[in-house]
Assembly symmetry: C2
Homo-oligomer: 503 residues x 2
């Protein structure tokens, strides 16, 4: 918390003379009062800058706030426009409550809360009327006791179900509304004879509030939790690819250092850190998957899209990021001496990094574009698997005698050993993405263009684009039909498409 | 979701004969109808067993549910007992709403929501009356427009503040209630002239609801988020100690294997997994710390206890658990051949594991008992630091030539290299726990008893208890004064206390 306004004056109040002390206090208060507006102003400015940053980070936040404002203004008109008010009376209040409590950032969140609220109100209302009827049978004296007992039992049982993980995940809000409605109906029925009339009013206003939220949420700049989850998983795999590529670059630099100057690459260091956000995205992924479960079909996402597979892929990506944590620990301590043995280890390490990175890039873009992974992905994985086998063989052979720089070699060997796990990890991600692309009905990529290009390559007309330059992961989706006019060579077209991809 | 009741009959409906098909369908429906009660019964039984397990896992859940039931029954009596009803009228509803929405599992949660609700209602009520007054000045035609505009602006701005991390963490619920109350007051004031009377009723019922929740939450089997966080951190450090001890045991078994049979220790393997829950406790820790922030002083915890330091210690423990993840990966592949070199590496590894484990145990029990860490903790850390230095020297020396089993040695070296980091990590945890014990005002352990015991040890009266047996971390807190009667020797007392500790 901020320190109190007068705190910096405290020291001066220790003066022995009482009079002086009093004067100092007054002076201090005046000083504090004078500096107050200044401080307030700087605080307001700081908050404004912070608010601007939050808005810029994700402009959908501003849109969401405006959407809530619109929904609330619309619904509160139920209350203050006379013709509507005459229809609903005080029950219009429930529409306002519903809008504020139900309108969430994502469509899934809004749907989840609306449906929970609606169903729970219906169910609890019916039960409440039943309870009221039952209590009525017990006479005037018994009624409060029976009602109290029923409220107690139902509230206790319902609260306990909130500890069930499945209930907690999907129906937590519904249980709360259930308890509230049941209690209100059961208890208020004791007073108000027109309970059905009341229930009708309340339900219709809740319906109006909920429908307003759902409609605005879906049709005005919707934020789909499913789309967010989809993008998050694709981005996470992409981040892993960038990191792994960075590691590959580090291995390359081992080789070429002999002649070159040592370069500090702060930009690349930053890219090597990208995996860290992947380590902590589990909670977000689970929340989004829970919300996405409620969403209807939208864009290429069906209702009951296999969200679980996104979670599985995400978990595998996190597992892979854990390996990166170990690699990053060692990668900076590069061997200073270039023995043959070190070079022998470095080469497969570099291949694994580069090839696995390519595979991850293609998997990431396959998810992003909702297409099947390219057949080349499998090739990249195979190449890195072969390199991993080579590494294993080197690790199993006896160590060449009388080597210096033992510690550096040990660290390189540790990295090598982890890289073997990375290959396995990337394979698992690939299997999971393939399963996802089947179950989620991703598009097949045009095999025709592929074949045609393959033939051109085989006939030696075109120089194949080097896979390991690490910047292009989608050259095979080039529309070869375009070339039929013969106005540019395939090589030129490839170059052009590559430039377009980059821009 | 469960498969639909008739799904297992689907295959039989492929019969070519229509009539047979029809008959089969009927038979199938009958069969399904017959099996329904059985299935329902098995589902109910399963749910009951699951509920029992959830209750047994943490009996406080059952108590919490009963507490909510009691609070709700008490508050709903406002509504259905006539004298009370006459006082509050329909406003009693707000007490019910308050109880259900505000009563949380922990005291901190309940306080946070109650205070948020109370303050937000007051503030928004005042602002709402102001808005209503302002709108009144604009005449009959202007009023709805001005009110609508104010509701829109306030709802939009308030919703946007919910994206501020600080607001989200502590005042999210307050902002919601603020929007609801402001809208209701501003809009309903248009109709109801006795707005102050209404506000008074509503505030007093919310107060009654909130007070009921807070009192029951604090005085009937309270669940303190602070105490939970405290226990969680102590338990997590304890788990790390157990794991590290297990690793030490593995290194020991390297040494002694030469003569002994290979033993599969599934129990120990389980203990080696204990660190995994530490990896994922970050979210829980943060939630608990946020809730603990609201709690008043209780037991040895002050208001404004340094909860941030618990989070810091927890983060360091997680960091340490990450190292364990790497160690565990390698620890099972034990070298089969016992060369002098391997033994040279294994010994410091074993020392680090055992000593650091002892240090962690003492730190964990220091937190648990809210005392300063024992002075021995520092000794354990020093010993393991020395062992780490030894390891580093071994790693820096050139590797002895012509060794076989290169791969196994590499893995051992990787473990060794990680263990050096573990030592650093344990040191950090120790520093953090020391800071915590100072800031949180932990008790100093009786130095007198220590000294007396030291003298006894020096005079050779007592055999010192071996620290590395790994089962006793608190023998120095024994109350030596008890021995004054001379009815048992110190050694006997130590043994007795040890047994008591274990039971």
């Amino acid at each position: 918390m901020a320190s109190p306004p007068g705190s910096q004056c405290m020291e001066t109040t220790n003066s022995p003379n009482e009079n002086t002390k009093h004067n100092t206090n007054i002076a201090c208060i005046c000083k504090c009062a004078k500096s107050m507006p200044k401080k307030l102003k700087s605080k307001v400015v700081k908050t404004a800058i912070f608010a601007k940053k939050i808005g810029e980070d994700d402009p959908r936040r501003i849109i969401h706030s405006v959407k809530v404002g619109i929904a609330l203004t619309l619904v509160s008109s139920l209350y203050y426009l006379r013709p509507l008010y005459d229809g609903f009376g005080q029950a219009g209040m429930w529409a306002i409550l519903t809008v504020v409590l139900v309108f969430e950032f994502t469509v899934g969140g809004t749907l989840s809360k609306s449906l929970n609220r609606g169903c729970a109100t219906l169910l609890a209302g019916a039960l409440g009327i039943g309870a009221e009827y039952l209590a009525n049978l017990c006479g005037d004296k018994g009624e409060p006791i029976v009602l109290g007992l029923m409220v107690f039992i139902l509230a206790t049982a319902a609260t306990f179900t909130r500890f069930f993980p499945d209930v907690k995940r999907r129906y937590d809000y519904g249980v709360l509304i259930f308890i509230i409605t049941f209690t209100l109906v059961a208890v208020s029925g004791f007073r108000v004879s027109e309970i059905l009339e009341l229930a009708h009013q309340r339900l219709s206003t809740i319906l109006i509030g909920g429908a307003t939220c759902i409609l605005i949420s879906i049709f005005v700049y919707p934020v789909w939790a499913g789309q967010d989850l989809h993008n998050l998983i694709a981005a996470n795999i992409g981040k892993l690819a960038v990191c792994l590529e960075g590691f590959g670059g580090e291995f390359m630099s081992f080789r070429e250092d002999e002649d070159e100057e040592w370069i500090t690459r702060s930009d690349e260091d930053k890219s090597l850190q990208a995996y860290k956000s992947v380590l902590n995205s589990k909670t977000t992924e689970e929340t989004l998957a829970n919300l996405a479960w409620w969403e209807p079909c939208h864009g290429q996402f069906r209702f009951r899209h296999p969200w679980g597979l996104y979670l599985k892929t995400g978990a595998l990506a996190t597992e892979c990021a854990h390996h990166f944590k170990i690699i990053q620990k060692y990668i900076y301590s590069k061997p200073q001496v270039k023995s043959e043995f070190i070079k022998k280890i470095q080469e497969p390490c570099r291949i694994i990094s580069t090839e696995s990175s390519q595979a991850l890039k293609q998997l990431s873009s396959a998810i992003r574009n909702m297409t099947y992974p390219l057949p080349e992905t499998e090739d990249h994985i195979k190449t890195s698997r072969t390199a991993a086998e080579d590494l294993k063989i080197i690790l199993e052979k006896p160590y060449p005698p009388q080597q210096d720089h033992f510690q550096e070699i040990v660290q390189l060997l540790c990295v090598a050993s982890v890289l073997v796990d990375v290959v396995k990890s990337v394979e698992n991600i690939s299997v999971s993405v393939n399963e996802l692309s089947q179950k989620a009905g991703f598009r097949q990529q045009k095999p025709k263009a592929d074949k045609q290009q393959q033939q051109l390559l085989h006939r030696g007309i075109v120089q194949p684009v080097n896979d390991s330059d690490g910047s292009d992961d989608s050259f095979v989706v080039i529309d070869v039909c375009k070339l039929a006019g013969g106005q540019e060579t395939l090589a030129q077209a490839l170059e052009r498409e590559k430039l377009e991809m980059r821009s």
